[in-house]
Symmetry: C2
Subunit: 387 residues, 2 copies
């Protein structure tokens, strides 16, 4: 395949390097891999990744190019960037986008606080886009902050579920074998291009089924469900009292454990640590107080942590109301108040819902209600979308 002169020039201005809590996927087994990763990083003087992202996505049946299609309101390419940038030994990530989408892409990098990203202009074909990325890495430009890599990973912008082990396999194979005859015979044309123009070693390694490419609209559905499943497996129950934790908290924990992999109950002292470990789901049980103190404290901590930048954080505020002891009118005022919280929280990707448990029988203990099979009380449920 003969190529004309490249469509794009050098790298555009590097992406912003904002600090923030980064959202590694729950599925990543970071501990064992990072050791290997560090070794690979040692052996390779530098590893870079090039993402061709100049496609128009005509097979999607939607006007937005597929790399910009939203999954849980975040563009697909942001998930792919997240998967690559959590691999510490990838020093630079070059994204090739069309001129029209350059500003969109810069906005995505800024909004989701992606790091180590440089943008180059996409070519008219996928190969030219890759070429432009490789060229930016190979060029000796004054003031160029890019390290010259020994290994370049070429990764589709629309394969969001790439794992560190596969990337490591790619890098190791590249270091050990270079580019074999097999690849030249059976590999894709990308390899020819890399060999012919960039003088950078390259090799194709077979991926896992997880490496699938988002091509059709149904793949967006699947991607959304996979992401939802990942972030919904961990839940933290925050109790507003240590005493009740033993009763109500234990009941809730047992119930939730039948559905979810990770259930943590706390009376709040280790909340900061739980947020740092990227738990995206909270049930905040207000037993002692009739207002939203505990919920408000949790909302503040979540907001400060930047946890909700990458994924929506779900907070369910649970309130127990004794029919006899608290006048409904008074409780209603409180409900009005949480509506305001919910409105504000939603702007920051925190989905605050409420559960009011209104039990009409005097003398019924709260822990009995939570653990009861014969539910003889009322539930009221409100969701942020209602407001």
């Amino acid at each position: 395949m003969e190529l004309g002169p490249p469509g794009g020039s050098g790298p555009a201005e590097p992406g912003p390097r904002l600090r923030g809590l980064r959202g590694a996927d729950a599925a990543a087994s970071a501990s064992s891999l990072s050791r290997f990763g560090a070794e690979a990083g040692c052996r390779a003087s530098a590893v870079a990744a090039v993402l061709p992202a100049g496609g128009s996505g005509e097979r999607m049946g939607v006007p937005t190019p597929k790399q910009f299609c939203p999954i849980l309101e975040r563009p697909l390419i942001s998930y792919t960037l997240q998967a690559l940038e959590r691999v510490s030994w990838i020093k630079d990530i070059i994204v090739a986008v069309t001129r029209e989408n350059m500003e969109t892409m810069k906005g995505i990098i800024q909004r989701y606080q992606h790091k180590r990203i440089s943008l180059v202009e996409a070519g008219v074909t996928r190969h030219r886009s890759i070429f432009n990325g490789l060229k930016a890495l190979a060029e000796d430009q004054p003031n160029c902050r890019l390290s010259k890599p020994e290994v370049v990973i070429i990764h589709d912008a629309v394969r969001p579920f790439v794992e560190e082990d596969v990337l490591l396999k790619v890098v190791t194979a590249a270091q050990e074998h270079g580019c074999s005859d097999y690849d030249l015979e059976f590999g894709t044309e990308c390899l020819h291009l890399a060999l012919k123009y960039s003088h950078i070693k390259a090799k194709l390694v077979e991926g896992s089924p997880d490496l699938w490419k988002v091509t059709y609209k149904r793949d967006l559905y699947a991607a959304e469900s996979i992401i939802k499943e990942r972030i919904s497996q961990k839940v933290c129950v925050v109790m507003d009292t240590k005493e009740d934790e033993e009763h109500v908290g234990h009941c809730l924990e047992e119930m939730l454990k039948t559905e979810l992999n990770h259930v943590k109950v706390t009376s709040g002292q280790d909340l900061q640590q739980i947020i740092l470990e990227q738990c995206y789901n909270f049930v905040c049980v207000n037993v002692m107080t009739s207002d939203f103190e505990e919920t408000q404290r949790l909302l503040n901590m979540v907001e400060e942590s930047n946890l909700s930048i990458l994924y929506p954080v779900v907070v369910i505020s649970v309130h127990f109301l004794d029919y006899e002891s608290v006048p409904l009118g008074q409780k209603m005022e409180k409900v009005m108040q949480i509506r305001e919280f919910a409105k504000e929280a939603k702007k920051r990707n925190i989905l605050l819902s409420g559960l009011l448990i209104y039990f009409p029988q005097v003398g019924k203990n709260i822990d009995k209600i939570v653990c009861s099979v014969d539910y003889s009380f009322f539930f009221f449920w409100w969701e942020p979308d209602f407001f």
Copy 2:
């Protein structure tokens, strides 16, 4: 490819032929196709379909064979059968299942009221399963109710989204070309098998992207989302009064139309017809009465129609409560009552939820509340899963 003697024998007892409302997919463009279909049916003396369904689904990563994996609680193969049996000119559908799954399969046919189905035992390979299906069609058995077909469609049990137009293309191609050299060269081994053993014409026709096969777990997610999208595009708002229909009904209609393709508002007189046209989503607005008369009437009609056999029917019962005029205790009794309805309805695949709109300001009109942007009232939401 040389085959030994077939693993299975003749057809097992035919599937039950129960009468009931059948759920054609919303996406099927029945009108124009059925004319073509009828023509094809005329030209072909008989068309049959064989579904090999003996797979173990090891790539799914789940213990259940993929054809039996649930989507919205119904097994995948039931969707495929539904897609085939809504094509009137397919006279017989032969499903090849393993001996262990024979009872499961019979249960599925009975529960979801599938028609024109015969079961044969699957062989140890996909080819033997197809062979057994073809053999059952070709054999001259006394008391055999199967028509000898001119054309046989061989269809994977795990491709649920097959449309009538593709099936028609298959049949037309088979009638016009028989089995060409191209197919023999490039087609799958199924063709060789069909040619060699069954003396029945067969041809491979290229399918559309919709014809994709459920292979991995992510495909189940995608299938579920596609089905949900299809059945959620149609909603019917049932008002309990004709007078309010103009105000509240119109507001609701306008709001819902921004999200959904088909919105119908009725005061109930044409409800039977709407159910017959397979609307799976209802909002039942109780303005005039403070009890559940309208909702109960709707639930009864849905239950009698068998609408919820194939897909869950969603009913949202909306109730307006004036803070001043109705004592809360009294309203609470009603809430208790709908919990019982919801429990019972869920057993019949009807998901009854409730929305209590509790407005504290005297003199506020209901239509103003529905259309209001500044919501100054309370919502209470209850879901069947809570009970």
